[in-house]
């Protein structure tokens, strides 16, 4: 017969419980509701005649209008491009900041990275609109200088969308990378150089592999944020850009079809999970399974 002490939950369970509760409340429950809604003909809360159905998924799979598959591909493409560009911009800057000797310089640079996060996404997107639109700062200036005669197509396309998304999400990439690169012992790189490696080779063979956990975390963060972005693609993309979050918002906000919106949400989450797991595996293999588990 188990003793009273063995039946009592361990102290670790008590420590984990609040986090578990939050996870269930703010992730599992909303997702479960969304997934459940995707299998109902209409909202079962208000409509007693709602029945179970798979028609929302069939609608997505059949895609008679040919826009849902395009929207999924466009969402993933924008997410991938935004992630790669954010990494290319963010990594050198993060490396520079992590290796900065001056504490004041580091603090100032960190402030420069964090400050944009204090401004709302809508405001920053509108700022990009004033810069990239036909009558915006760039086109007006180039036309005034006589370099171009008609405005360059900088907005209402994927280019403008990616530019704004990169600006918005590059701080997330940098903040993740700064922490990881900052913890890499600089003497390892110095040792490689003392053994004859050049600056580039020492970086490629020592620093870069050791910073892979940061690259993985930063990339996943930026990718997840980019594929779920709604405001920026809808304002910067016009009709040229159609992403799944835009379609989901449309289904909820103007078509009042929560079932199909739920199905689109489940599809987006499933596809992005597959990509995330694959990316995780590839990077883990590249890093020799070190530090990525």
């Amino acid at each position: 017969m188990p003793s009273a002490a063995s039946r009592r939950p361990s102290p670790i369970a008590w420590l984990i419980a609040p986090a578990l509760l939050l996870f269930v409340l703010f992730f599992v429950l909303p997702f479960a509701i969304m997934a459940a809604m995707s299998f109902f003909s209409s909202n079962p809360i208000g409509n007693p005649h709602a029945v179970m159905t798979t028609r929302h998924y069939e609608r997505f799979i059949v895609d008679s209008a040919g826009i849902f598959h395009d929207a999924l591909w466009e969402t993933l493409r924008i997410g991938l491009v935004t992630t790669v560009v954010s990494l290319l911009i963010g990594y050198p800057l993060a490396h520079w900041m992590a290796r900065m000797q001056s504490r004041l310089g580091h603090a100032l640079a960190l402030m420069a990275v964090i400050t944009p996060l204090l401004t709302g996404i809508v405001v920053r997107t509108f700022a990009w609109m004033t810069i990239l639109q036909d009558k915006g700062v760039i086109n007006t200036t180039l036309i005034a200088w006589g370099l171009i005669h008609k405005p360059l197509p900088l907005m209402y396309n994927e280019f403008g969308t990616v530019v704004a998304l990169v600006h918005i999400y590059v701080p997330f990439m940098m903040l993740t990378l700064i922490g990881v690169i900052g913890r890499i012992d600089e003497r390892l790189e110095q040792a490689a150089r003392s053994l004859g490696a050049g600056r580039l080779r020492a970086f490629v063979e020592v620093t870069l592999p050791l910073s892979l956990p940061g690259i993985l975390a930063g990339s996943l963060l930026v990718f997840a944020l980019s594929i779920s972005a709604y405001v920026t693609p809808s304002l910067m993309g016009g009709t040229a850009v159609l992403t799944l979050p835009m379609l989901i918002a449309q289904q909820v906000g103007t078509s009042f079809n929560p079932g199909f919106a739920g199905a689109l949400g489940v599809v987006l989450l499933s596809v992005s999970l597959v990509i995330v797991i694959a990316y995780n595996r590839i990077l883990a293999r590249l890093a020799g399974e070190q530090g990525l588990a």
């Binding site: 209409s42 909202n43 809360i45 208000g46 409509n47 008679s64 209008a65 040919g66 826009i67 395009d70 639109q133 036909d134 009558k135 405005p151 209402y156 809808s234 016009g238 009709t239 040229a240 159609l242 449309q250 909820v252 906000g253 103007t254 078509s255 009042f256 079809n257 929560p258």
Partner: protein
């Protein structure tokens, strides 16, 4: 010999102060318990300022109630997930297309008559026509806004928007999300085809409008026109008239084929616990003095026939039976039944 009172003056003062303090703490709770709350939806911007600054406080005073106004879109999905017998709103204010979607789910009443709202007896026929679910308290004319400083001829027809000179400088709406865009699509069917429901003609005409700058909201179209990003675009008259006297190079044109009606509709939720108050609110919003205040504040055409506006508003807004007769009311029931297919088709056309 003076006898000492059973309670000293100081004690009396202390007790009085304590009672006053207790009363001041307790009173709001008691008041709150007795005061009914009317939950409504309303617009933001200038409309919201007038509502919150003047219209709603006066209603609260008159009816001894409090009004809780939601200005955060989207309203119908929020109503959809609230209990039917205790809905999130008592009065739903939206455009007609959404009222028609809401009535299908039983979220709002299908009709409001003079029996429930006496001022309905004084509204123009369009405000309670068979194209309306609830009652329209204001309307705007959907036509064309244009820049007066770009050397273009003021538009007379909807066809003028297709002028090749306007390529990339013409504006419209994302049809799946904006009822002005949906009205424009139907109007293309009328102008280029057999009528508002001639979708094939409308799709063909839409193709001819590319490249076109599309926005979500009328506020964005206003900004595009004001900044010169768009030279000519679909907009409702109040979106242009509200800049009257501000020295802006924009004007509004009513195309000869007619203007579409953008109705501001109020409706009551069947499960409202304060239905009488909800009807009283709609009646209040239709009162001539309230109608005049809002019409002149945001340049919306009042639904009540008895409203007398200042000359400059009267000249531009739809304030006579003849002017109101120029309004075209779309069949939203018909449109909503096809919305998914239309959305998919126009998305493909405009993306391709």
């Amino acid at each position: 010999m003076t006898s000492r009172p059973p309670v000293s003056r100081r004690t009396m003062l202390r007790a009085g102060a304590s009672l006053a303090a207790a009363a001041s703490f307790g009173a709001p709770a008691i008041l709150h318990a007795e005061t009914k709350t009317l939950k409504i939806t309303t617009w933001g911007g200038k409309w919201g300022d007038i509502m919150k600054g003047t219209v709603l406080p006066a209603f609260e005073k008159e009816h001894g109630c409090t009004v809780s106004a939601d200005q955060a879109f989207p309203y119908v999905p929020k109503l959809q997930v609230s209990p039917r017998n205790d809905p999130l709103y008592d009065v739903l204010h939206t455009n007609s297309n959404e009222q028609w979607l809401a009535v299908v789910d039983g979220l709002v009443m299908d009709r409001i008559t003079a029996k429930e709202v006496p001022n309905v007896a004084d509204v123009y026929p369009y405000a309670v026509s068979d194209k309306i679910v609830g009652v329209s308290i204001f309307t705007s004319a959907i036509g064309l806004g244009y820049r007066t400083d770009k050397g273009i001829t003021p538009p007379r027809s909807w066809k003028d928007l297709a002028d090749p000179k306007l390529a990339g400088a013409r504006g419209g709406y994302l049809i799946p999300v904006n009822s002005l865009g949906q009205c424009h699509l139907m109007m293309l069917g009328k102008v280029y085809g057999k009528g508002l429901q001639d979708l094939d003609a409308a799709y063909k005409a839409l193709e001819q409008l590319k490249p076109i700058k599309l926005v979500d909201f009328t506020g964005q179209m206003e900004k595009m026109l004001l900044s010169g990003e768009v030279t000519e675009g679909v907009i409702h008259d109040s979106g242009v008239y509200r800049y009257d006297g501000q020295n802006q190079p924009v004007d509004f044109a009513s195309p000869s084929e007619g203007v579409m009606a953008l109705e501001q509709v109020l409706n009551v939720t069947p499960g409202s616990k304060v239905k009488e108050l909800a009807f009283a609110y709609i009646d209040y919003m239709l009162r001539p003095d309230v109608q005049k205040l809002l019409a002149e504040g945001v340049w919306y055409s009042p639904a009540n026939k008895k409203v007398k506006l200042e000359a400059k508003y009267d000249a531009k807004l739809l304030t006579t039976p003849a002017k109101v007769a120029t309004l075209i009311q779309p069949d939203w029931k018909w449109y909503n039944a096809r919305k998914d297919d239309i959305d998919a088709r126009v998305t493909k056309i405009l993306k391709g």
